[in-house]
Symmetry: C2
Subunit: 146 residues, 2 copies
DNA sequence: ATCAGATGGTAAAGTGATTTGACGATACAT
DNA sequence: ATGTATCGTCAAATCACTTTACCATCTGAT
């Protein structure tokens, strides 16, 4: 009685959300590496996360991804060097740049999307389509709360 | 037609899982800071994540948290310096250590737990208790798949 | 009982992602 | 016009983390 583990109680919602999210991430990374985009890591994929960097300004992206504009710019530099995107001058604001995906960048976004779809399909099958739909619906609501 | 954002489609499951998980994390960090544990960041809280470091061996913890034993030991060093835990010799294995929470460490674990409960309660209320229970159940199942 | 190999923890140096601080250029509001 | 805010970037410094290398201890085979 009163063992430390008992005192901690059952798995918390945080843990329940975290594990499958990490599974998605890892699956995405592995799949994307298989497809030949093996010069990237999770930090890079993070930049491409929904809704992706296409057309965005660096500062806007940095805010969205909750990192300093310097940190993001560092990543953009690497992604540009690796041929995934370019930073082009913004015609409407001479101070500003806009991120433009290259062909390779677009292909990456597509591959990421496909990887997630794949995993979702697998889960939907094993959970049952209607229960999976229910889960998705509840998660959408949860996201609206936060 | 065929705008970049259309091509990306609706929010993916990854994003749906990530956002609320990050909300949990941020709430936990903020709450814990309020309570006076303001010398910690997310990396530290990570060590305390379910089921917590109490009684664990460093290497075991490192495996559980998917980091190198050196990286974990670095964090344990800080947490020890800040008075949250101690590394004590393991009586059963002279090579080994065991993590023992201090009073402050136990208080932190309790505060973290409380913070998550708080947020869960808020969500349960706004989602409806039975729908929240459903969400939780589905997440448990999803965790068993992965 | 001994010895080989595995495992646990740690130290030290190096790496590299990220922060801090500062800057010139442009935009915008008054 | 002029002051202030914003955009991107550079450079230096920092700090978390990796790599490499150890020694101590355990374990199992002989």
């Amino acid at each position: 009685m009163n063992s430390p583990s008992e005192a901690l109680g059952p798995p918390l919602l945080g843990a329940l959300l975290r594990a499958p999210w990490e599974a998605v991430q890892q699956h995405m990374l592995a799949r994307v590496h298989e497809r030949g985009f093996d010069d990237l890591d999770l930090a890079h994929l993070n930049v491409f996360q929904y809704p992706g960097p296409q057309g965005a300004r660096p500062t806007e992206l940095a805010t969205r991804l909750r990192m300093s504009k310097q940190a993001l710019n560092y990543l953009l530099g690497e992604l540009e060097r690796l041929g995934y995107l370019e930073r082009r001058p913004d015609p409407d604001d001479l101070r500003s740049k806009r991120v433009a995906l290259t062909e390779r960048g677009t292909a990456l976004a597509y591959a990421m999307r496909e990887a997630v779809d794949e995993l979702e399909d697998a889960w939907a099958q094993r959970l049952g389509p209607e229960r999976f739909a229910e889960l998705r619906g509840l998660l959408v609501e949860l996201n609206e709360l936060a």
